[in-house]
């Protein structure tokens, strides 16, 4: 067949072993389909090699690294505070959560306990960020499945959150807001009222989203029977966040290993119920996100109630971030799962080693297991349901 032979014109540029599948290994009727790095729904520059037989995908190999910039090497060359803008750029649609994790790790290393107001502010921004990030995940997932309208409805709401963040710290996407020992800005006057206003506007939107997309028969048919991750596989691959909970495992770091005073908040942990098919399907993962937004709204209401009126957000910010030699590992529940940083300090002004354990990297490593035997259209559904951000996978 003409197509198989002309596929590799640029042979001298790409070393052989980069190809997991070789054309000469293919059986009859099989074809290698290169999905990405430029593809509308690989959520960035992910490249997936698919061994297809007609519409059926026999095997899949993700190739990552197109966005690799070695954030960890950067981090070894700048001071602790300077790393935060780089952590923002890992998961660029949930920057607040990333920098929060980094700040918490350094605080753990330096044994800093921040004030109550800072804790409340951090809960506020990270839950708002969770809503924003889930809105993006849900919206783009709808678009992957072919429904365009929910995407823009989600973005309309997300825009409000970004506006609130811009009012709070001057940036819309990459905030540099969570500092070691505090946050960069105190809440502006009237901000909390506007968050309340947003929440009251936002709650009906989730129900509308259910009507428009989540419970639509076409949508459930497309997603509820594909990409099944059984609970034991999810644990073996150390999945976390909505991907783990979609498989029916009730595990949330906010509950199990609380930080920022999350133990004081009353919220439920939504898990995949298998309403339209087996537990652990794409739909379950998707719907866990929808439910999590509802829970985030609950947490936000409580956080606004509990917010201490007074408190200096810069009180505990050290003049010079210079931890004692040692190492610390801290994890938080970001919108995409458990993000953790492993920081080794040699007592100097710059970190000796920073390792980011990114949830998307781990989620993506399970991809080849669940993609096998599905159809090409389902591959898109699976990638979307894992909710990956390539900035975090490739770091």
């Amino acid at each position: 067949m003409g197509i198989a032979t002309t596929a590799r014109v640029y042979k001298d540029l790409e070393p052989d072993s980069a190809y997991a599948f070789k054309p000469e290994d293919l059986e009859d009727d099989e074809m290698i389909l290169n999905m990405g790095p430029q593809h509308p729904s690989t959520h960035g520059v992910l490249r997936i090699e698919l061994k297809t037989d007609g519409e059926i995908v026999k095997d899949a190999r993700p190739h990552i690294g197109y966005l690799h910039r070695n954030f960890e090497k950067h981090a070894e060359n700048i001071d602790y505070q300077g790393v935060i803008p780089f952590t923002d750029r890992m998961d660029y649609v949930a920057s607040m959560a990333n920098s929060l994790t980094y700040a918490l790790t350094v605080e753990k290393l330096m044994a800093i306990e921040v004030g109550e107001r800072v804790k409340s502010i951090r809960v506020l921004v990270s839950e708002l960020q969770r809503i924003a990030s889930h809105l993006l995940a849900i919206g783009t997932y709808g678009m992957d499945i072919g429904a365009f309208t929910p995407f823009l409805h989600c973005f309309r709401e997300r825009e409000k959150i970004l506006d609130l963040f811009e009012w709070l710290c001057g940036a819309r996407l990459l905030y540099n807001f969570n500092w070691v020992g505090g946050v960069s800005h105190d809440l502006p006057e009237g901000w909390t009222d506007k968050v309340l206003q947003f929440l009251s506007e936002f709650e009906p939107v989730i129900d509308e989203l259910d009507d428009l997309l989540s419970l639509n028969k076409i949508f459930t048919d497309r997603t509820a029977t594909v990409g099944i991750i059984p609970p034991d596989l999810a644990v073996a691959y150390a999945l976390s966040g909505p991907n783990l909970r979609g498989s029916g495992i009730k595990w949330d770091v906010r509950r199990e290993d609380p930080y920022c005073g999350y133990e004081k908040y009353d919220f439920e942990i939504p898990v995949g119920q298998g309403r339209y098919g087996p537990i652990g399907s794409c739909w379950d993962r998707y719907y866990v996100r929808v439910e999590e937004m509802r829970q985030s709204v609950r947490i936000l209401h409580q956080a606004l109630d509990k917010l201490p009126a007074e408190g200096d957000v810069h009180e505990k910010v050290p003049k010079r971030v210079k931890p004692n030699p040692g190492e610390a590992y801290a994890r938080t529940e970001t919108p995409r799962g458990e993000l953790a940083y492993f920081i080794v300090s040699d007592g100097g002004l710059i970190p000796y080693r920073v390792k980011g354990r990114s949830p998307c990297f781990v989620s993506m490593s399970i991809f080849h297991e669940i993609a096998r035997g599905e159809m090409i259209a389902d591959i898109i559904a699976i990638i979307g349901s894992l909710d990956i951000v390539l900035g975090e996978i490739d770091r």
Partner: protein
């Protein structure tokens, strides 16, 4: 002069023209029977009968082609506006009043774009494919009646002709998919073939439902049998046969969506899976051809549905091309509305829908309608 000022000047000058043109267009459509009658009498008095009919048909073809070339321009703008407002956006606003010139601007851009044929493509097929696709969509309009006597050719097998000629488009798509030398295009072509083969059957069966009741394949006869409007003995087919025709109408509409590759059946181009499906590698005018064909086919499907079930150009209060135009426009709007509401089906679900749901139900409706018709006669 600064460029923005120049642009503003051009668009301020052109948009009233376009809006006036659209208004004039509607007036012309409303007065079409009179105009046609006038031309016909003039021709008959000036020329021999043979030449008169030849010139008459040529004028009809010219008018239809002109209409079909203009309609997509309006429909694309209309769809973008519908999509935008469904999504709480504004849509095109820059080029002219509320973006009415947007489609013209896009058309000009497409005209000037480089025409790329990928290396290793099957060049002849690559060139023929868009032509075939647009031909399949536009040739069917030869038998679509716009009013009493306003039809290019009142074939006695008009419905059969439509079913046959629209299949040409699928061949074009398959050809485009194969010739592009692109795997995504190939998938798009293959999916399109599977989809067409499947959905031809319920379409034909649903048309049979109508044909049984009307007793003719000619579209003018179909309309003639619905000449009473909303009420009466010969009312629109939609409300007859105890709701069976309603089911038939819904099925025809679904099949129409599938045949025009519109969401939720747009799997041949499925932009999130196959990049752009069969027209991934097309650019410039060839791409525009696919675009025109899509909107032409939308209009055709809506028009045929209006003729079969909603009485075509027969209206409740007045009849004529304008009634047909408005009915069709409404059905086109429903197509757009569906597109911006629903997710896409998967290819196996698409086929399952056809073979497991549409065909059995259509067959049941067909049998029931046949039985009731026999009983009535």
């Amino acid at each position: 002069m600064k460029r923005p000022d120049l642009e503003a000047k051009i668009s301020n000058f052109l948009s009233p023209l376009v809006i006036a043109g659209a208004g004039g267009f509607l007036v012309v459509i409303a007065l079409l029977p009179k105009i046609a009658e006038m031309i016909r009498t003039q021709l008959q008095s000036a020329l021999s009968p043979t030449w008169a009919s030849v010139v008459n048909i040529a004028l009809g073809v010219g008018a239809t082609v002109f209409l079909l070339a203009q309609l997509p321009i309006f429909l694309i703008w209309f769809e973008r506006k519908v999509a935008a407002h469904v999504q709480d956006r504004l849509g095109p606003m820059r080029v002219g009043w509320h973006g009415v010139l947007q489609s013209f601007a896009d058309g000009i851009k497409l005209l000037f774009k480089e025409d790329i044929i990928p290396e290793g493509a099957d060049r002849p097929l690559f060139r023929i494919a868009p032509v075939l696709v647009i031909m399949g969509a536009f040739a069917a309009f030869a038998v679509v009646p716009w009013g009493h006597g306003l039809i290019i050719s009142d074939l006695n097998i008009g419905l059969l002709y439509i079913v046959a000629i629209t299949s040409l488009g699928a061949i074009g798509i398959l050809m485009a998919g194969w010739a592009s030398n692109n795997k995504y295009s190939l998938y798009g072509g293959m999916r399109s073939a599977a989809q067409l083969v499947a959905y031809e059957i319920p379409t034909a069966l649903v048309i049979l439902v109508v044909v049984i009741q009307v007793g003719s394949l000619s579209l003018q006869d179909v309309i003639a049998s619905q000449s009473d409007g909303l009420w009466g003995e010969n009312r629109w087919l939609l409300t007859r046969m105890y709701g069976l025709n309603l089911i038939a109408f819904v099925i025809f509409f679904i099949c129409g969506l599938a045949e025009t590759n519109r969401n939720p059946f747009d799997i041949p181009e499925a932009e999130s899976e196959l990049v752009a499906g069969f027209h991934t590698e097309y650019s410039g005018m060839r791409f525009a051809f696919f675009f025109l064909a899509e909107y032409g086919a939308m209009w055709l499907v809506a028009g045929v549905a209006a003729i079969l079930f909603l009485g075509g150009w027969v209206g409740p209060y007045f009849s004529g091309p304008l009634v047909f135009f408005l009915k069709t426009l409404f059905l086109v709007f429903v197509q757009m509305w569906l597109r911006w509401t629903l997710p896409r089906l998967r290819v196996d679900q698409l086929l399952a829908l056809c073979w497991k749901y549409l065909i059995p139900i259509t067959l049941a409706v067909l049998v029931a309608v046949a039985g009731l018709s026999v009983q009535a006669s």
